[in-house]
Amino acid sequence: MSSDSLIELSGITKTYGKGDAEFKALSGIDLSISKGEFVAVMGPSGSGKSTLMNLLGCLDTSTGGTYRFQGIPIENLSKDQRSLIRRHSLGFIFQGFNLLARTSALENVELPLLYRGYSRKQRHERAREALASVGIADKEINTPAELSGGQQQRVAIARAIVTEPGTLFADEPTGNLDSKTTVEIMNLLCRLNTERGISVIMVTHEDDVATYAKRIVRVRDGLIESDIQTP
């Protein structure tokens, strides 16, 4: 295992339900991702790509196989320990943004810092920086309902990067956005990857979105179908 190894998956399986209703979402995934990569996980719906993503993001647990994140075996961790990994090392961007409703952009962005125990001054400073770096410094007092889809996703990205995580997980980050905004958001993710060296792991089913990534992993029926570097 090299020192810049980020993710090591071997023989990962995930089964939902029991007995007749049993459904195998992942049936043995082997995958390794290094630090600084920009990986797109692609596949048709029901292929298991979102399940894989949730496992990688420590949001869910596998039913079999081993997953090492930065060398740490995730299976052995308690719920709280996984929470702490998310808190300190991971950032998340969701298709549905998942911002707190009726809460200003600034408060949404500083939320992870609150759990990290930062002072009020530090929280505001860093949250404003993060909002500025995604280009919506002027929207800090607006609530999600007052923002466009693109702006909401920018707030979500700001929230994901405000803790300066090493890894960013994006689940269909452009799924709810028009093509112009999609381009803007993808450029932003690319910039974070190249300029800050943040590893980005993104799930998508759109080919043109996937082309922004340096590596494309295709999943079908719970197995890896192909794993290629983009030109």
């Binding site: 949730n54 993001g57 949001l59 869910d60 647990t61 719920k79 709280d80 929470s83 702490l84 990994i85 998310r86 808190r87 300190h88 991971l90 998340f92 969701f94 998942n98 911002l99 707190l100 409703a101 009726r102 809460t103 408060e107 939320l111 992870p112 609150l114 759990y115 990290r116 125990g117 929230r159 803790t163």
Partner: protein, 401 residues
């Protein structure tokens, strides 16, 4: 960690102000209803008790006839009074009471009032207190002195702001000197004005106003029992003595009655106590309804809150941090509601106490009970759904629809 939870909880309350207000409202109504009803009920009980003790404690009254009217039944004589005093044990004091009604006149002011002729010990028995001047004494009684003590209502009617002591009022064709005024007692247990009376020596009343038509001219005998002697025995002894003196046969009913204020007091206060517990039960139901209101609000918002919990878990909150936040929220809302409820109850009690005429009595126990009960309901129902949601994997909580 606790401080963070407090910040987060207060933010959540602020951004869901409507939900918070509805929750608080449930607690407020429950707490205010219980406290108001029980406090007013207790105030009423106390009022009735104090009115009865105004009549004189441990007081027995011997009246002619049965029931209230006593019309036609023979009055009592001095010999009756003496016999009772001599033969019945357990009596501390007794005073005969003769009544008359006459217009009392001072200058151009007139008021028709109740005149009571009695002995000096009556003031003690009936629990009268002097306001100014003095009560009449044994010497006044013996010589049938034209003196009197007047109640507050008479004093106001006849003298207004003037000093009544040393003035003479006219009753029929007798002029009587006012030597004292009594402290007001207020309303009696039956809404009658206890201060609308003139008290004078029984000898004066009989000689100068009523005239001594017969020996049997005592309307009532007021008897104060010894406090350590059972009043029921005194009542029984007086009854059998009077039956004997009047030669009543076994099949004849008493043509007199002996009432015991302590029995009346017990009966009245036990019935008001029943009313208080009834009101308390009604109020308890409103507390329960308030609790169900809290529960509904909390359960209705559970979908939105489950997503919120999912978001918090996904960005790295630990389950216990989320739970602490929900606990702080529930405690804050319940306490705000409880305190508001107590304040509201105070306002209601003070304004309603005036309407009802009952005194306002603070009762710590019922305040605490109502507060704790509603707080516990608020906390349980605010916390329970959160407990379930925080146990989920973040991704399940996020998917919650």
């Amino acid at each position: 960690m606790f401080f963070n939870a407090l910040i987060i909880a207060l933010r959540e309350i602020r951004r869901n102000l409507t939900r918070a207000i509805l929750t608080v409202l449930g607690v407020v109504i429950g707490v205010a209803a219980v406290i108001t009803m029980v406090t007013l009920g207790r105030g009423a009980t106390e009022m009735v008790k104090s009115q009865i003790s105004n009549l004189g404690s441990n007081l027995l009254v011997l009246r002619p006839g049965q029931g209230w009217g006593g019309g036609g039944a023979p009055l009592f004589s001095k010999a009756d009074v003496r016999a009772i005093e001599d033969q019945v044990p357990g009596i501390k004091y007794m005073a005969p009471l003769a009544r008359g009604v006459a217009p009392a006149v001072f200058l151009q002011n007139v008021r028709i009032t109740d005149i009571q002729g009695t002995t000096p010990i009556y003031f003690e028995i009936a629990n009268w207190k002097i306001q100014s001047g003095r009560f009449f004494e044994q010497a006044d009684l013996i010589e049938g002195a034209p003196v009197c003590v007047i109640g507050e209502t008479i004093r106001k009617e006849l003298f207004g702001k003037e000093d009544a002591i040393g003035k003479k009022i006219r009753l029929r064709n007798t002029s009587v000197l006012v030597i004292g005024t009594t402290l007001p007692k207020g309303q009696g247990g039956w809404g009658d004005d206890l201060d609308d009376n003139i008290i004078m020596p029984i000898t004066t009343l009989q000689r100068r106003l009523n005239g001594q038509l017969s020996n049997q001219n005592i309307d009532q005998v007021m008897i104060s029992g010894k406090s350590d002697y059972p009043s029921a025995n005194v009542v029984a002894d007086i009854s059998s003595l009077m039956r004997e003196r009047r030669g009543l046969k076994a099949n004849e009913l008493d043509n007199f009655s002996v009432s015991d204020t302590r029995q009346i007091a017990d009966a009245v206060s036990s019935s008001t106590a029943v009313m208080t517990s009834l009101l308390g039960a009604v109020a308890g139901v409103s507390l329960l309804v308030g609790g169900i209101g809290i529960m509904n609000i909390m359960l209705v918002s559970v979908t939105e809150r489950t997503r919120e919990i999912g978001i918090r878990l996904a960005i790295g909150a630990r389950a216990r941090e989320v739970l602490l936040q929900f606990l702080v929220e529930a405690i804050t809302l319940s306490c705000v509601g409880g305190v508001t409820g107590i304040i509201l109850a105070y306002g209601l009690c003070i304004s309603l106490a005036k309407v009802v005429g009952a005194p306002f009595l603070f009762d710590l126990k019922i305040n605490l009970l109502a507060f704790v009960f509603s707080a516990v309901i608020g906390i349980i129902f605010g916390f329970m759904p959160a407990c379930r949601a925080a146990g989920l994997d973040p991704i399940e909580a996020l998917r919650h629809e």
